[in-house]
Chain length 286, copies 2
């Protein structure tokens, strides 16, 4: 694999395990795509453009994953390869007496020393997110039988993340990461690695109409659930317009959800600016 | 990951699954090392020098792989990182209700367009192998209780391959691959990809003294067994001396085991030059 002059590789690798990261009856078309897209989301957060990937497939013995299954699995991957401009450069196939295991390592390209990082947020920056937050977490609750989703939008968001590739954020944002563990936890990652405090206005966190229809009582599930694969960004107020213009050019919605301050950790505010305090196993609203 | 000017990456990726590629009671020190070394062997066969790797570990639930296990696992990897000059640049850790699964993607560096290939053997070339062949296959038979190995040499060879990194074979050999599926099968790979026939003098295939002590009746197990991780090379006779000098400089034994001809497939000869013919499920000696 050759690297163009003046560029370097950003690399992301992920493993997905049946019954942990997906269900045995998930559509095979979506499985490889989800794995690929999670990694592409990571590349997007580094500001790298998709290039190539390797794929290791560990197939349960017993024949449940037959030629039809693989045809659908491959068809999904082929679609995404075309859509995101990545190609498969190799891999490994093994068998297992156990669940299906998929590992991908994805390579992106970017100019030397331009990778966006989590460790460079500064007090005074604004906090922004792309898209809407919490849909995939609610989609998982739907699949688990805990919620109704007449539109099937939430489940679709759980099965197929939309990595925010194609954004040009270098020189605009101060820090970036993709939201995979849940908004609050990932805000915590930026806070820790940058040595700052992130204050999030929970009312400003964008939500889809499908999520809004379920009501405010699912707020914490939306903010704590994972699998969003949206971008969490920090940006000095002077660059707000440039950030909005870059996102508009890529037709990606972006919303300001809070402020970076001196300090540590994450603080959540409700619509009146009152703090929502953490309690054992979750958050408590005062 | 940056690439020096004028160089490119050779990439190898492998997955190892408990109960398929290793035993649950294999020493944890050797597991990561075996995975790393299998990939390094692949890099050696391409003529690339080791650079970096990613590692994805999927850990069985239930606590069998505790801190002691991981300490030993990591200690083994740390030794090999030092020995082979590679460093870990990232990875993923996941859980599984099932066996341990390890995936590594290893990156090597080489000058543009100098990668050794399997598809470039030519009629008239000699066939060579490094080291001794069949030790790991016999080691597996020992572990399965089918053979005695008082020296423990064969089991050691099964647990810890010795990748032939450090050889400078570019411009000397015509084709190369590493022997992982078994000598005969891998000869078949070169035959197929190069569009030639490989004729192997089975008496010339080098064997260790531990293997020799078991007698001639294990010949076919040695030639068909896998996990050798030696190099299979083809080389025009005019370059024999250069090949031997390069191997001597790296202190790696190398032996001529046959000839490349026009045709297809693999032919095996016994000590008198008579052909050993394939039969259902193996080979028959006439």
């Amino acid at each position: 694999m050759r690297c163009p002059d003046g560029e370097e590789f950003a690399i992301s690798t992920d493993t997905m395990v049946e019954n942990v990261h997906f269900f045995p009856d998930d559509p095979p078309e979506t499985l490889g795509r989800k794995l690929l897209r999670c990694n592409l989301s990571d590349l997007a957060a580094m500001g790298a453009r998709p290039h190539a990937y390797t794929l290791n497939v560990t197939v349960p013995r017993g024949g449940r994953h037959d030629e039809n299954w693989f045809a659908a699995f491959s068809r999904g991957l082929a679609e995404d390869q075309k859509h995101y401009g990545v190609h498969l450069i190799g891999g490994d196939t093994t068998s297992i007496s156990g669940p299906l295991v998929l590992s991908a390592t994805v390579f992106g390209l970017l100019r030397h020393n331009t990778a966006l990082r989590r460790s460079t947020a500064r007090p005074g920056d604004d906090i922004w997110v792309t898209g809407t937050i919490g849909d995939a977490a609610l989609g998982l609750l739907v699949l688990q039988g805990n919620l109704q989703d007449p539109s099937a939008f939430l489940v679709e968001r759980y099965h197929l993340p939309r990595p925010r590739t194609g954004l040009q954020l270098n020189g605009i944002v101060s820090a970036a990461m993709d939201i995979s563990d849940g908004l609050i936890q990932d805000c915590g990652h930026i806070a820790k690695e940058s040595g700052v405090q992130l204050v999030v206005d929970t009312e400003a966190v964008p939500l889809s109409s499908a999520a809004a229809a379920l009501g405010r009582e699912w707020l914490m599930q939306r903010l704590c659930g994972g699998d969003d694969y949206e971008l969490l960004l920090t940006c000095t107020p002077g660059h707000s317009k440039a950030l909005q213009a870059a996102c508009q050019a890529a037709e990606i919605p972006v919303h300001r959800i809070g402020t970076v301050r001196a300090g540590s950790g994450v603080r959540l505010l409700d619509g009146e600016g009152h703090e929502i305090l953490p309690k054992q196993g979750g958050w408590q609203h005062f």
